[in-house]
Structures are given as C-alpha cells and as structure tokens.
Amino acid sequence: MVQQPLPETVRIYIMGKEYVVPDSLTIQKAFEFAGYQWIRGCGCRGGICGACATVFRYPGSFRIEVGLACQTVVQEGMYIAQIPFFPAPKATYNLDDVAATTQAIQALYPELYKCMGCNTCTKSCPMDIQVMEYISAVIRGDLREAARLSFDCVMCGLCTARCPAELKQYHIAELARRLTGARLQPRAKHLAEQTARIRAGYFQPMLEEVERLDEAELKKRYVAREAQPQEDDPNWSPKDKSYL
C-alpha cells in the first residue's frame, strides 16, 4: 500500500502489514475495516470475555503494550498482533476435595512459588488488575483477598503469556475465587431456608392457583402488587403476607 493517511485516519500495522484506517476505530473494528472477518480473537465486543487479547508497540518505543482489541482505540504507527489462544493447562479438581489453603492450590499449580515478584503480570493486564498482588495473597494464604483483587479478571491470558516464572495466574485466581465463594464465605441462611421450603412443596399450592388464573384476574393481581420501596430497609415486609 502506498496510500497517504487522510485527515482523521491513522496508519497501523496488522501483523506487520500496513493499513490506513479511521482514527476513531477500536483495534477490533480496524481489523474489520481492513478486511478481516474474525473467527478467533473476537468475542463479546464489550470488554468482558477476554477473547481479544492484543499486544502492540508504538513506533520508536521499546515497550510492549497490551489491550483488549475491542476496547483499545487505534493510534498512529501501532504495530499489532493478537494472542487468541495461549497454552495454559487448567488443573482439574473436585472442588469439595480442595482445601481453601495455599498448600492445596500449590498441589494443583506447583509453579505458584516460582513467582519472583517481577510484576510483569500486572503490567500485562488489560484490566488494570494487581495480578502480582493477588498471587502474593494466594502465597500468604489470603484467598479472600486474592478473590477480591482478581474479581474483574477476563481470563484473557496475557499475564500467563508473559510470566517468566510460567505461572497460570488466571487459573489460580479462578480457583481462589471458587474456594472463597464455596468455603470461606458463610452460606446464605435465608437461601437454605427457602430451598428447604421449595423441596417440601410449600409453594406448590399457590403456584398451582396462580397458574390457573385467567388473564383478567392475573391483571388484577398484578396491578395490586405491593411494591417494596427502593430505599433500603432490611426490616420491610409487605402488608399482604398470604403468599409468602
């Protein structure tokens, strides 16, 4: 291509090949503008699924930049490549058999302690997650903190792709979150009570009743529903308690 950039366009390099694209596009849309139809490397297009992990460099810079292609706007001179898949084996386990401890996680991911604290993972995270911090939290046994710090992880794999110690950070984080949810947080008491009532068939008569109603009666009851106020009040209860 020998095209000159027009106003409001930029020159980018998709895997080394030059294309001129509008400067308002995300990397994802710029690929499409250039003629690519995605198979891999494109998912939700909304910054949450982690399918479009992308690495790029600006001209003259030594630094490797990272981003999600669907969230990152193109800039002049970007050299761009995607990492649509990275081999990072996930340990398989029966969650009930895994203790919520560092030792149990280490047994599944023995490389955990190889972390040398270089912080490359954090610098490689397109979601600005403190990856090294959550790995440290796992190592010191604070799985709740690891769950909290890693909560926004989209599992794109960029941390793992760049880790010199070859950790699978995002799989470790997933395990830490699941152990936190299943083991470290108290189970919801009100939920257990409600499911016990469901299993005992408590709601069956009222559901059979409402299922048989004609549209006119349904509308009447729908309009008459008592709305719980928006303002938080943990002690609120409806006047009509007959269908609770």
């Binding site: 503008f33 979150r177 709305a227």
Partner: protein
C-alpha cells in the same frame, strides 16, 4: 477524550436539577409509573410495533407467522451445507448427549447430563463461554428472601412483564427452580455479592425493572461473567465425562426415518471440515440473534449471536413462537462512538439513577419493564424532541449515575460498577461524576423454539434451553430472568437429555432428508435469495474491501 464541549454544557442542566431530584427520591417520591393502559399507549413507539418491520414466514413449521425480516430471511434461506455432500455412514464422534452451545445454558446442560451419568460432547461455535451469558451484567432473579418474597410474587412479575402472554408452566418452573439455582451456584463457589461480615451470609438484593420485590442477586456488575467463568471451570473439571469442541458450530441436525434426532453435523470453522456426530440425545443451547441488527439497531450482543441454532431446528421441524417480540435494552451506550451499543446495566437504575432528557428532566419512571422504558426513551427523542444530540448525529438520554454517589456515598459507583467504571475511565469519563449517554439497543430474543417445562421439543431426542427458546418470557423478558433462564432450563434440558439417552433412545438410520424436503418446500413456495444459513459469523468487513475481493 471525554465529553465534547457541547455535551459538557448540556451536562450542566443535569447537574442543575440533581439536588431537587435527589431530595424527591429520598422522600420516596418516584416519577409515577405508568398504568397498564399508559404502558400500552407508550408501546406504540417500540420498534416491534412497526408493521413494516415484519412479514409472515413462507415456509416451515410456523408458516404464516409474522416475524422480523432479519430472522425470517435466515429461517427461509437455503441450507449452508448441501445435504448430499455429507457422508453420514461413519460418525466422527459418538456420544450419549450432544450439547450445541457453550454459554450458560449449554454449560449447565452439560454439567447436569454428566451428573446424571451421560457421556457428553459439548460443541460451540467460538470459545467455550463466548456467549451472551458472559455479558449479562445486572443480576439473576430469585425469590430467596421469605420475609418479603416468594415464587408467587416472582411469577406475577414475570407474567406481567411479558404482557400476560407467557406460557404458565414455563413461568412456574422458572420461578420455583430459581432459589435452587442460586443454591447450586453458591455451592460451585460463584461469588454472588453478600452483605459484608454477615455470619448469616445474606445475599444482597435490589430491584430490577418490573419487579415488585427486591430479588435481584448479583456479582458486582459482572454477574454473567462470574456465573459463566464458574460454570466453564466446572465443565473443564469434568474432563473425563464432558468433552468440549470449540470453533465447531452445528450446521444441521441429523434425524432418522421416524423423525427422531440422532445427532448433528458440525463444521470446523478453521479447516472447513464437516464432522458427523451421532448422539442419543441432543440439546440446543445456541443462544440468540442480536448480531442480525434487527431494524438496523446497534446491539449489546455477543459476536456469535446469529440465530444459527434457531435456523437448524426450524428446518428440522421445530415451530417457533414469540419471535415477533424483540427486546431492546433501554440503556446502550451512544457515546463515545467506540462504545456504541455497549450494555449499561439496568442495575444503575436499580440503584435509583434517573433517566433524563436534554433539559435534565425526568420523563419516565426509571424501572418500567424494558420494552416500556425503551419505548419511552424513543418517544422522548423522536416525538417529544427532547433527546440529547450526540456528535455522531444520533439521539441519547442521560443516565444520571452521579446520583448514586450523591445518595449512597462517594465511591459507590466505582465499587458497585467496577466493569463500567474502568471502561468509561479509558474514554476519559468518570461515571461517578458525569452522567452516561444512552439509547435503546438490541438486546434479547424474547422468542424462539417451542419447548416445554422438561426441555423437550416436538422432536424426540431433541431438547432446548436458554435464549434460543420461546415462551417463558412471553413478549418481554424482565431483567435478571435470562441468567436465571439459562441455568434453570439448561439444567433441566441436561437432565432430560441424559434420561432420554439412558431410557428412551432408539437407534435409527441417520438422514438429512428433512433438509432436502425443506429445500423442495422452499422452491415450491417460490422463495429466492442468495443467503445461505446458518450464517455463523457476522460480516463487518468494509464495503470498499468487499467490492474488490476475489469473487467467492
């Protein structure tokens, strides 16, 4: 980047009315919700009510049923794969249960089928977990708090939101299974938000549009992603029982001479090889169709939402319902342009943020059911002419997120909506301090294939679950009922399919004769057009490139 100077000027009008609006909200003075008659009047502005937007189907089991052109085009289209080109004699895979789709419904189905003793093959068009489930933000409804709620009230909310057209047995199943699903997710370690430091583990709950009680459970503002990554992790833990094939969408169902489902034909998207799967039972969980951009609307949907499963099921003889009703989410981003169509969770309004016109004034109760809310937004822009003009020449409505920080304390927006906060921060907008600009965006396929409360379709051995189905939501789904739908009916379909494989399966000679019959019916009805379906991938390649391409 951030807002343009013009928009910054207009934001001042939002700020000018904010303190008075907050005072009213604190006094419990909501903008008055519409009556049922008022809703009906406003719904005239909903895109579904445009007569020119739909047409009767000319072929297939629901011939005569009028639905949008974009889906009709695909249901009537010629098959992508010539049935004569497929050799059915030697299957490439054999399994008890074949699950088509790797989103929330497919993953739930696979887990429950495996739990019930079946060998499972899960195939998906993109990666496992690439699905609308991943993108659902706001929450999952379930009547888990007996002090103020029960499945009865959930039932009334669902059926009222669906215009009283929903199929009662499906609604009943949805609401009575809901707390069981929450318990299942809790046991899998899914991090639904709980009250901090509460030894009783109380789940946090808020309102959603059209709910009478607070029963929206959530995982910050990435509820779907948290559910999806948990389910995906668990499916992978079952590697000995569940095999996953990515980038292998189903392109046709396989039936036998007696009309029973015997598996499916898959296409390897990368090598273009066709695979034959012989299965004792098959579950359809392929999701929706937002990427068809119905009536030209932008969409919140996943890249893969192209109605593929709907197409192959219809061709095999499964009728469709409620496809005449398409859901437009009231709040898709319209600014900045790069984020266009992006979902802004209803939970923002669930927290009390107002929707405002160009004068910074309220014009609608912010938690009407989605179709009504969207219709009111469109009316305010196109009829009342009080929309906010965007730099790209579109209209928007302000969503006053800073109200949340003002009412619930500074930092609440950042804490409760971390996903959206970081996203807008990248575009130079602090949504704790500046409102967002939104407009209705294509969000959900309310209808789909006919099925029943056991997940069965009219084809023996063929089950369905999730967005690809129709009936449970009637003509309009409420917020928080799609994540619930995929889990409830995914689990049921998986169980039913495993039971069918074990107890009812009868072998038969595999054929694609139903495809040949469909081609003949199409010809006899005089349907023309070059489109071949399923289309599998949307095509956003620029026209200048297409015009100069080597002809296919």
């Amino acid at each position: 980047m951030g807002y343009t100077r013009e928009l910054l000027e207009l934001i001042k009008k939002v700020e000018a009315t904010r303190s008075a609006r907050i005072a009213r909200a604190r006094a419990g003075q909501d903008f008055p919700p519409l009556s049922l008659e008022g809703r009906a009047e406003r719904l005239r502005f909903h895109p579904d009510y445009k007569a020119e937007g739909r047409r009767p189907l000319r072929v297939g089991p629901s011939k005569g049923y009028a639905i949008c052109h974009e889906i009709a085009d695909l249901l009537e289209a010629a098959p992508l794969v010539n049935p004569d080109a497929v050799d059915l004699r030697q299957p490439d895979y054999e399994t008890d249960v074949l699950v088509l789709g790797g989103g929330g419904a497919g993953s739930s189905a696979a887990l429950l089928a495996a739990k019930n003793g079946a060998r499972v093959l899960l195939t998906t068009k993109l990666r496992h977990g690439d699905a609308n489930t991943m993108m659902a933000e706001g929450g999952i409804q379930a009547a888990t708090q007996q002090a103020w709620d029960s499945p009865y009230w959930h039932y009334l909310d669902v059926i009222g939101g669906g215009h009283f057209k929903n199929i009662p047995e499906l609604v009943r199943t949805l609401v009575s299974e809901a707390p069981l699903v929450i318990e299942w997710l809790e046991g899998l370690g899914c991090l639904l938000s709980k009250e901090p430091d509460d030894p009783q583990g109380t789940l946090r709950m808020i309102h959603g549009g059209g709910t009478s009680r607070k029963r929206m459970h959530f995982a910050a503002d990435i509820t779907g992603a948290e559910i999806m990554r948990t389910l995906r992790d668990e499916v992978r833990n079952q590697a000995g029982k569940i095999r996953v094939l990515e980038f292998n969408p189903a392109v046709e169902l396989i039936l036998d001479g007696a009309g029973r489902c015997q598996g499916a034909v898959l296409l390897n998207l990368e090598t273009k090889q066709l695979y034959v799967v012989r299965a004792k039972a098959t579950v359809l969980a392929t999701g929706g169709s937002g990427r068809l951009h119905i009536q030209g609307f932008m969409t919140t949907n996943h890249y893969g939402a192209t109605a593929d499963g709907l197409v192959i099921a219809y061709r095999a003889g499964v009728p469709v319902c409620f496809l005449h009703a398409v859901q437009y989410h009231p709040t898709g981003a319209v600014y900045p342009e790069q984020a266009e169509g992006l979902l802004i969770t209803e939970k923002i309004r669930g927290y009390g943020a107002h929707a405002l016109n160009v004068d910074g004034e309220q014009f609608v109760f912010e938690r009407e059911p989605r179709d009504v809310e969207s219709a009111c937004f469109i009316r305010e822009c196109l009829e009342v002419k009080k929309g906010v003009p965007t730099p790209a020449g579109k209209w928007g409505i302000w969503l006053d997120s800073p109200m949340i920080d003002a009412m619930c304390g500074a930092g609440t927006v950042e804490r409760e909506f971390p996903g959206k906060f970081i996203l807008f921060k990248r575009y130079g907008i602090d949504i704790g301090k500046q409102p967002m600009l939104v407009y209705p965006t294509l969000h959900y396929q309310n209808g789909g294939v006919n099925y029943n409360q056991r997940g069965e379709t009219n084809i023996p051995g063929f089950f369905a679950a999730g967005e690809v189905t129709g009936g449970v939501h009637g003509e309009n789904r409420l917020m928080g009922n799609s994540l619930l739908d995929v889990c409830v009916f995914g689990r049921i379909a998986g169980e039913s399919a495993a039971a069918f494989a074990r107890e009812k399966y009868a072998p038969g000679e595999p054929t694609l004769d139903h495809v040949r019959r469909f081609v003949a019916e199409r010809r006899d009805a005089g349907v023309e057009g070059k489109t071949a379906s399923p289309i599998l991938l949307p095509d956003y390649v620029s026209q200048t490139v297409k015009d100069k391409r080597l002809p296919a």
